[in-house]
Symmetry: C2
DNA sequence: GCCGCGTAGTGACAGATGTCATGGGTCGGC
DNA sequence: GCCGACCCATGACATCTGTCACTACGCGGC
């Protein structure tokens, strides 16, 4: 029986090393590569053609979700398992549409990790039912591209005028987009709107 | 030579398990306890009197910094090592004043972890020079308690009126506090003020 | 061809926010 | 006892935001 070959992508070196140590305890799993960002991981998967890519979402450069999207085209033989801190419905939705078959929170019990890897390596899916249910409950991203753009900048504390300059729009248009976004999200102002959008993984 | 006895506190089960696996590889270290939140960790240190407590900062209930503060009084024999995602100057400052002798980012190379544990167990300090320098550069928290309170609620998207109701103040007073806070932080508005305060570990 | 949607803009208005000056009160340090 | 902090408040003012109505263009679907 040949072991499952794994590449791990995780920007926090300590966590990367720790997860590697954890998986090394499993006799049927071998770690063939470690990457500290999405771009390095992409190259590594191309070179090593592992059975499974274990990846974080929030990383410098290419995010774990972008990475999964690229791999679906370039290297569909490598199964992707996302491991993330955040239970954001939008993240799960984007992961699913990128063809990801494994999704795991860092909150999950340790045994779940190896189990998920084995499941996806065997062609199955490992997505917790409660997360999937929450994602359905919340629904999909109601924002348009421009609403997201303006909201992102507004969340950094920029004024309507400053946002308008950055995006090449008129301040009035920015006001309208932000007002629309707040309305769609049921928020009373741009701050609340930014928070719920971020919480849901839409920003 | 007796091994160094360690308790780990970390709310993300996967990371907790992974770090435990990593440290188990070191023959001179033994993990005697694992806690998923600050309160459990406090009880565990009282019961087990370990040489070292390895703890995250952001946890449900008692934070790692609160925990360190309590232990300085209750159990000064146990050395504390903070392991955190965030390089926030205010966190390091609070850690130092709580008597913490080890501070490590999750970004750090894996070898640094065991090294830091051995250093503090031997009575030494393990605080990266660059973090300490950054903390001095930024200086200490310029905000008063009330400015922090109002800023925290403002960052959640509450209006002046809503903040005033929560804190039992007049809306005008809230405006003044937020204006003061923004001035001290060099911010143009409450959003930017909240961001820089959070970034520096002051919120 | 028309409709819906996203994009982009304007004008008007109310209300929220930011700034400043000014006035209290308490409390601790010198 | 005075001074400096932090606390709390008010009033006045300018500016920023949020909301609404209404217009216009391009694009894709039916």
């Amino acid at each position: 029986m040949t072991p499952i070959r794994i590449v791990i992508a995780e920007d926090q070196a300590l966590v990367l090393g720790a997860i590697a140590a954890l998986l090394s305890l499993e006799p049927d799993l071998t770690i063939v590569g470690r990457a500290a960002d999405g771009d390095a991981a992409l190259a590594m998967v191309r070179d090593l053609a592992p059975d499974v890519l274990l990846t974080d979402i929030e990383m410098p450069g290419l995010s774990g979700l972008d990475l999964a999207g690229r791999l679906a085209d370039v290297h569909p033989r490598t199964a992707v398992v996302i491991v993330t801190t955040f239970a954001r419905p939008g993240y799960l939705a984007r992961a699913k549409s990128a063809g990801v078959r494994g999704y795991l929170l860092k909150d999950a019990p340790v045994d779940d990790l190896a189990a998920a890897i084995r499941t996806v390596a065997g062609g199955g899916r490992a997505i917790p039912a409660d997360l999937a249910a929450a994602a359905i409950e919340i629904g999909c991203d109601p924002l348009t591209d421009r609403e997201r753009d303006t909201l992102r900048l507004a969340a950094e504390g920029l004024s309507n005028k400053a946002i308008a300059d950055r995006l090449g729009l008129s301040p009035g248009t920015v006001r309208n987009y932000l007002s629309d976004a707040a309305g769609k999200l049921g928020a009373a102002n741009r701050i609340e709107a930014g928070r719920t959008a971020r919480q849901n993984g839409w920003l």
